[in-house]
């Protein structure tokens, strides 16, 4: 609720990729609402700490979903709380590459194993924006930042490959400069019954401007890194998805979508509820009677 709120004192830098992500998410949520008839207040955005997470404050009025802007790196367990408390809600995580893949990385594999039915939108800019330009897991090796003045020592993390390898059941890749396409991917991710991640190239114009690398430049003879995933790619084919993730370039589209995806809350209904006999408090106490 902030564009018109004079007290809100955070603003993205001009040209920041996150503007496009904000717009795309708004469209996606709106479109989903029209399609399903669900009110906007059935959506909960769980935001990470970083420039990216501030997206959660930028929806207003009739179009404002619920939000929770918590602590750095913990979007996934907070989302576990919201979703498993209220499986009827549509839960969306928005986080930066530092938040999600560095401090919060320990939470990704467990969520994949659980197949928690949420949608994650990662604003990957290869850098820590909010803390002013330090090295992030997805930054490339040898990259010079203020925390790696002599070059980054680690190999850059390939997030798509990582997500696939830990068993995320929906993996897509998008670009902030193409919000319409991204909104469509977000809609598909929200419809997927399970753990969905969209890794969005969302350049940081201040500390790591990758627009040119992504879009290419005819004048400078730079080939675009972005390319659309070919239509004949079968997203249910995990090996093919892995090949795309490992190949050069930045793909746009759905890499992988598990065909028979059963989310955690459904597993509970199917396997645990039939085994369980509810007991009332008096019945429980009765078991301890002398």
């Amino acid at each position: 609720m902030s564009a018109k709120n004079p007290e809100y004192d955070f603003k993205w830098c001009p040209g920041c990729g996150d503007f496009g992500v904000r717009r795309a998410l708004e469209w996606a949520v709106e479109e989903r609402g029209e399609r399903t008839g669900e009110p906007i207040y059935n959506n909960v955005i769980v935001a990470g700490i970083g420039c990216s997470g501030n997206l959660v404050h930028l929806y207003e009025g009739e179009q404002q979903p619920y939000g929770i802007h918590g602590i750095h790196g913990r979007t996934l367990p907070i989302a576990l709380g919201v979703k498993m408390g209220r499986p009827d809600l549509n839960v969306i995580v928005v986080a930066g590459d530092g938040d999600f893949l560095s401090i919060g990385q320990e939470h990704i594999a467990p969520q994949a194993a659980r197949n928690l039915d949420i949608t994650c939108v990662i604003m990957d800019n290869g850098v820590y924006g909010l803390t002013k330009g330090q090295s992030s897991p997805t930054g490339e090796q040898n990259m010079v930042t203020n925390s790696t003045p002599y070059g980054k020592l680690e190999v850059g993390l390939n997030p798509l490959q990582f997500f696939l390898s830990v068993g995320v059941s929906f993996v897509a890749s998008a670009f902030s400069g193409k919000p319409r396409d991204m909104a469509k991917l977000m809609g598909q991710a929200m419809d997927h019954p399970g753990f969905s991640i969209i890794n969005v190239q969302s350049p940081c114009t201040t500390y790591n401007d990758t627009f040119e690398m992504l879009k290419g430049s005819k004048n400078k003879g730079i080939e675009p890194a972005l390319y659309d995933i070919p239509e004949d790619h079968d997203p249910t084919d995990w090996n093919a998805a892995l090949e795309i993730a490992r190949a050069d370039g930045v793909p746009v589209g759905i890499l992988y979508q598990e065909q028979y995806s059963q989310p955690l809350h459904q597993r509970i209904i199917d396997t645990i509820h039939p085994q369980f006999q509810a007991k009332t408090v008096p019945e429980m106490l009765e078991a301890f009677v002398l």
């Binding site: 709120n5 809100y8 959660v56 929770i68 209220r86 009677v289």
Partner: protein
């Protein structure tokens, strides 16, 4: 000689059935109508390792597990050596004749396994011991026999060999000269009684409060609460789940609390420390949740299987920045049940995190308590917002109704300082307003009840948590010996009941027995201007009543001589 009270300690190695024997004795005695309390210490290892469980049986309500042992049942030489010093002079050591002990002890050797086999089943070894114990205090043999018959009803063979084993043990003890007097017939407590452990009582209390979301991670001594929830908190609208860390536990219950659930987790020191940042978030964003810390010895991995009351200050201030969390600490098994309801009521009422501080000592001990009264503490539920979208969730300086996702009133629950919408802001006046709002809500919790007796005296003792029992027993003894000391007790540690605070401020000296080095609770009382001082102990064990009597007496005498601190 008639006696009202009888203390038995079973000591041996993990896996030797020490706990089973003790629990069986406690249950049998409680079933006949005695009051019982057990006290257990465990080895950290799973198999083997020294362990003991103590059972106190009494015709009166039991407040502590007993200072001295009447009978030590030593199942190996090490146990004998470790515990013999605590056997009272006229007590008896009962030992297994598979090993030998020094001749001078008053010792009753029992060929436990031989007799058990004679009864028809080596597994009946515990019954041999119980039969011998019954003889030592002249208990009618029917007590245990009836209990065995009832317990193993329908399994005639089991009843048969256990009954035989009881009898063989009894006859064997009768061949010795040892007799510890006659335990008086029980005075059956009024009303229905249950025999229960603190962790179970607390878990059922939470269910009574309406808990419907639990995420936890295994850690002694809180694991039984987690296991209980995994088993019982199931069904539509409910969720119990194993997290991958306590960071996940706390943030998950915050997400659930935000989504309208009555959410809880339970942990011990190391896990509680990991929850630090999350608890700050719950305080800041005003999200109800309950965190149980079953204290063990600390810091770091500390003493996982021992008891201590050393997390109080951490419970009060687990997070960085300006915050001071509500803390409730039960002092008895009965209070474990009710305190869980109070903790949820507080969380729902002030919309924030509440720390329920239990202790190893209570978590793992069994005691008979009256069947809890389910009408005594009615469960409360937070005030929820029911208007349209466009609500100012954090408006004003006081508590406001909480919107729940899935209904209108969308807002951002924010862990950064925020304005009325929940949007981040750094304005000085907002931080002032919101800080005061958060602290101001604590006023809603100052209505807790407390115990007070002998309020005319300028000196009082005020134990907290599990030191209540030994503290009370010591106080009763001191009063009986003619001393004039007041008694105060509450499980509502922060905020303190407003009236209690007023009364304590009038005292010349408030003595706080507590199991930590720093004197954590008395230093907290001093921040309010109360002249409080601690009697500390940090052995990993609860207070002995006699030790407390002596130390309280000394402190009171010193006060009489004008000494301010000892």
């Amino acid at each position: 000689m008639e006696r009202r009270d009888f203390v038995v300690r079973f000591a041996g190695e993990g896996g030797q059935g020490v706990v089973t024997a003790a629990e069986f004795l406690a249950r049998a005695a409680a079933t006949v109508g005695y009051h019982v309390m057990t006290f257990a210490t465990f080895p950290s290892q799973i198999k083997g390792g020294p362990t003991y469980t103590q059972v106190r049986i009494s015709t009166d309500p039991v407040l502590s597990s007993g200072d001295e042992i009447d009978v030590l049942v030593a199942l190996n030489l090490e146990a004998y050596n470790n515990h013999k010093a605590e056997v009272r002079e006229d007590g008896v050591v009962m030992y297994d004749t598979v090993f030998e002990i020094d001749a001078e002890t008053r010792a009753l050797g029992v060929p436990i396994e031989v007799l058990a086999k004679e009864a028809g089943e080596a597994r009946s070894a515990n019954m041999v011991i119980l039969g011998a114990l019954a003889h030592l205090v002249n208990m009618p043999k029917e007590y245990f026999q009836d209990f065995v018959a009832e317990r193993f009803k329908g399994r005639d063979k089991v009843v048969d060999f256990n009954t035989k084993a009881l009898e063989l043990g009894r006859l064997h003890a009768a061949t010795s000269e040892f007799q510890l007097g006659s335990l008086m017939a029980p005075i059956r407590p009024e009303g229905k009684q249950i025999l229960i452990k603190g962790n179970d009582a607390l878990s059922i209390g939470a269910l009574q409060a309406g808990v419907d979301y639990y995420v936890g991670y295994p850690i002694s001594p809180a694991t039984p609460i987690f296991i209980f929830m995994e088993k019982n908190l199931v069904g539509p609208g409910r969720f119990a789940y194993q997290a991958t860390s306590e960071i996940e536990s706390i943030t998950a219950i915050i997400g659930a609390g935000y989504a309208g659930k009555k959410a809880m987790t339970a942990t011990a020191g190391p896990g509680f420390t990991l929850m630090s940042e999350g608890l700050g978030l719950a305080w800041m964003a005003e999200i109800p949740c309950v965190v149980v810390d079953v204290q063990r010895g600390g810091p770091a991995t500390g003493l996982p299987t021992k008891t201590e009351q050393s997390d109080f200050q951490t419970a009060l201030h687990p997070a960085h920045g300006d915050s001071k969390l509500p803390v409730i600490a039960p002092g008895t098994i009965e209070e474990c049940f009710y305190s869980a309801i109070h903790a949820f009521n507080w969380a729902e009422r002030y919309q924030g995190p509440v720390i329920l501080l239990s202790e190893h000592m209570m978590a793992e001990r069994s005691q008979n308590i009256p069947m809890p009264d389910l009408d005594l503490v009615p469960p409360e539920t937070r005030e929820t917002y029911t208007g349209d979208n466009g609500y100012l969730r954090y408006d004003g300086a006081e508590l406001s109704a909480m919107p729940i996702p899935g209904s209108p009133g969308a807002y951002v629950a924010n862990g950064s300082e925020h304005d009325s919408y929940g949007d981040t802001t750094h304005l000085a006046e907002r931080h002032v307003q919101m800080t005061e709002r958060r602290f101001g809500k604590l006023k809603l919790l100052e209505d807790g009840h407390y115990e007070s007796e002998g309020t005319d005296s300028p000196i009082a003792i005020m134990p907290w948590g599990g030191s209540k029992g030994p503290g009370r027993e010591a106080w009763e003894a001191l009063i009986a010996s003619g001393q004039s000391i007041g008694w105060y007790y509450t499980m509502f540690l922060h905020p303190l009941p407003a009236k209690l605070l007023e009364e304590l401020l009038q005292k010349e000296l408030v003595i706080v027995p507590e199991l930590n080095y720093l004197g954590q609770f008395s230093s907290y009382l001093r921040t309010y201007g109360i002249r409080a001082e601690s009697i500390t102990q940090y052995t990993g064990l609860p207070f002995k009543v006699s030790v407390l009597e002596e130390r309280i007496t000394k402190r009171v005498e010193a006060h009489g001589r004008g000494v301010v601190r000892v």
